[in-house]
């Protein structure tokens, strides 16, 4: 390869050939690799190690590698004695409900805003975009009051999963993402379907939804992950029902009376689903489509 040929990158071949630059970038990359393994993978590997290490060994020397064998019993003890199995199930139920609510709101809402487009939809869309400026966490107090003492109904929804499932649907980001995707679907297809006598319902279920599988996947993955990570809201809503709390709320609560080996095993179990999800859907995460949602903090 001649030195003039483009590398398509920051460094030209000439520069890759220069010893000082190659050394600098090369050692920078080696250093980066070591650091990334240490920082990105290290804590997870340590957590996995700690989860199957006898408590006494973790307490004596956290960096030793199984000096007195492996304690698989941590995992089973966490699952049954500490009831992590139950909290795991609670987390799944919460994540599923929030996912369902988000998908229903985002698909039907985006369908109205992008395809049906009644006259008032622009106004609704503006209101929707406005909520993007209001971070969710500043609404905790009014939301809490609303759930505990709802207007008109006057029946407290505290301790109810509905109080977690339904508010999850109010994600303007999901609707915007979905609307942008619908905007790019071929209009001729809709026209053709209308010509063939398909009504709005038919159009939605037979044309729009089947074409939207990629974006449905993205929204689903981030919806489930967000609920899995959620702490403050279920912590406030399910305060008095420990048996119905998800893992993220339960873990800090069981910390004091759980020995560290079992606690680490519980934490590993809580981290396992998101980690597996990431390994399977790596490209969705790393392509960056849903990052705005991840940033909502």
């Amino acid at each position: 390869m001649s030195p003039e040929e483009s590398t398509g990158g920051l460094l030209s071949h000439n520069e890759w050939a220069r010893r000082d630059i190659r050394w600098f970038f090369g050692s920078g990359q080696v250093l980066l690799f070591v650091l990334l393994v240490l920082i990105g993978l290290g804590p997870i590997l340590w957590l996995a190690k700690g989860a199957i290490t006898p408590t006494i060994d973790t307490l004596r020397n956290p960096l030793a590698l199984f000096p007195h064998g492996v304690a698989w019993s941590n995992l089973s003890e966490a699952w049954s004695h500490v009831n992590v199995g139950r909290y795991f199930w609670n987390t799944i139920v919460l994540a599923f409900g929030s996912w369902l609510c988000q998908i229903v709101v985002a698909t039907t809402g985006a369908y109205v805003l992008s395809v049906l487009r009644p006259a008032w939809s622009r106004f609704v869309y503006a209101l929707l975009l406005g909520t993007l400026f209001v971070p969710w966490i500043v609404l905790v107090v009014p939301l809490y009051i609303e759930v505990v003492d709802p207007p008109l109904i006057h029946h407290s929804f505290a301790e109810s999963y509905w109080a977690i499932w339904l508010p999850a649907g109010a994600s303007a980001f999901n609707v915007v993402l979905m609307k942008r995707f619908f905007d790019n679907l071929p209009r001729e297809l809709f026209e053709a379907a209308r010509m063939d006598g398909a009504g709005p319902v038919r159009l939605f279920f037979s044309i729009v939804l089947p074409l939207s599988k990629p974006i449905l996947g993205v929204v689903s993955i981030f919806a489930i992950l967000a609920e899995w990570k959620n702490f403050l809201w279920p912590f406030l809503i399910l305060t008095n029902s420990p048996d119905r709390q998800p893992l993220s709320v339960r873990l800090p609560a069981i910390q004091a009376q759980t020995q560290i080996g079992v606690l680490l095993a519980s934490m590993l179990i809580a981290a396992l689903v998101p980690l597996l999800g990431f390994l399977i859907f790596q490209r969705t995460f790393l392509r960056g489509t849903g990052l705005g949602g991840a940033l909502k903090g």
């Binding site: 990158g9 804590p43 971070p135 966490i137 981290a271």
Partner: protein
């Protein structure tokens, strides 16, 4: 047919059409009803859990509320209470400190990492996956891992063990007012930097490659290319991540709540933690008014910040 008669008949048809469109049946037939039905989940959910709470937040901040007695109007009393609270000043200072430190760690480091990663085409996937891994760990698990293992104050804490090899420590990372906040920032940067790296990597792929080649031909060195091509080409993204990072870190809650509960000596008391303490700290409901007032102040500050920031940087930004 005369001109006027034709005009009249055209107008009649148009009128009939209009009447048809505006009659309930015509509206429903024209798809109006279907659109409304499809919009129902969105209108109901956003109405109940986004628009209504926003209005309620404003109302609450001007009211005395405790969920038992009927609310009474408080004028600006809640705002006065918050501003005169010495903890408010502490919380503002701590939040600014957190945001500043988080910017110092979390802004340039991901950028440098992304530049290095994007130059390595073969290992790009592995590098970015490694950088993103901490982001997918549930925040509660991350915080607990750092709190009970890494920052463990005794000599068997992970950091203290490593420092002990060199004869340092043990340090009480979260127990001393001087190191508590930086310790929170380090964990939070670890947990969030992966997202920024991915955003930068995406932005780097959109940098015009021909510019690098042209600059190389003209004899520009590595640093000049980074300074004159990479950074200017990324300025839109750099400005957005700067803004998003400020907005995100001003809302910091989980780390001070789980790590330190705002301690030691209120050294990690942040604005949203103060909101939580007002609303749910002592007895639930006593400080809803103050909590709402402070929430509203944070929301207004962030909205103003975003608008002003976007205005000021519009001429620099390409996007």
């Amino acid at each position: 047919m005369s001109a006027t008669a034709r005009d009249v008949s055209v107008a009649a048809v148009a009128n009939a059409r209009r009447r048809d469109r505006y009659s309930p049946i015509g509206w429903a037939r024209g798809g109006g009803l279907a659109a409304l039905l499809f919009a129902l989940p969105m209108l109901a959910i956003f109405g109940a859990f986004s628009w209504y709470p926003i209005v309620r937040l404003v109302v609450l901040s001007f009211q005395h509320t405790n969920l038992i007695d009927p609310p009474t109007w408080a004028g600006l009393q809640n705002f006065r209470d918050v501003i005169e609270d010495p903890l408010f000043t502490t919380a503002v200072r701590n939040t600014a400190y957190f945001a500043g430190l988080a910017l110092l760690f979390g802004y340039p480091i991901p950028l440098m990492a992304a530049v290095l990663i994007s130059e390595s085409r073969r290992l790009r996937g592995i590098y970015s996956a490694l950088a993103y891994l901490p982001v997918v760990i549930p925040p509660v698990v991350g915080v607990m891992l750092w709190k009970y293992v890494f920052y463990e104050p005794s000599s068997v804490g992970l950091f203290n063990t490593v420092l002990g090899w060199f004869g340092f420590g043990p340090y009480g990372w979260l127990q001393s007012p001087g190191t508590a906040m930086p310790s929170l920032v380090v964990e939070s940067t670890w947990a969030n930097a992966g997202t920024t790296v991915i955003i930068y990597l995406a932005a780097l792929t959109s940098v015009d490659r021909d510019l690098y080649d042209a600059a190389s031909v003209d004899g520009a060195g590595l640093w000049r290319k980074i300074w004159h091509i990479t950074l200017p080409q990324m300025r839109g993204v750099l400005l957005v991540t700067f803004m998003l990072q400020i907005i995100g870190t001003v809302q910091v809650f989980l780390e001070p709540f789980l790590f330190t509960s705002g301690g030691p000596a209120n050294a990690t008391l942040t604005l949203l933690l103060l909101v939580y303490q007002y609303a749910f700290g002592n007895s639930v409901g006593v400080g809803f008014g103050q909590a709402a007032a402070l929430s509203l102040m944070v929301a207004v500050f962030l909205a103003l910040f975003s608008v002003v920031f976007m205005r000021l940087t519009r001429s620099w930004s390409t996007t």
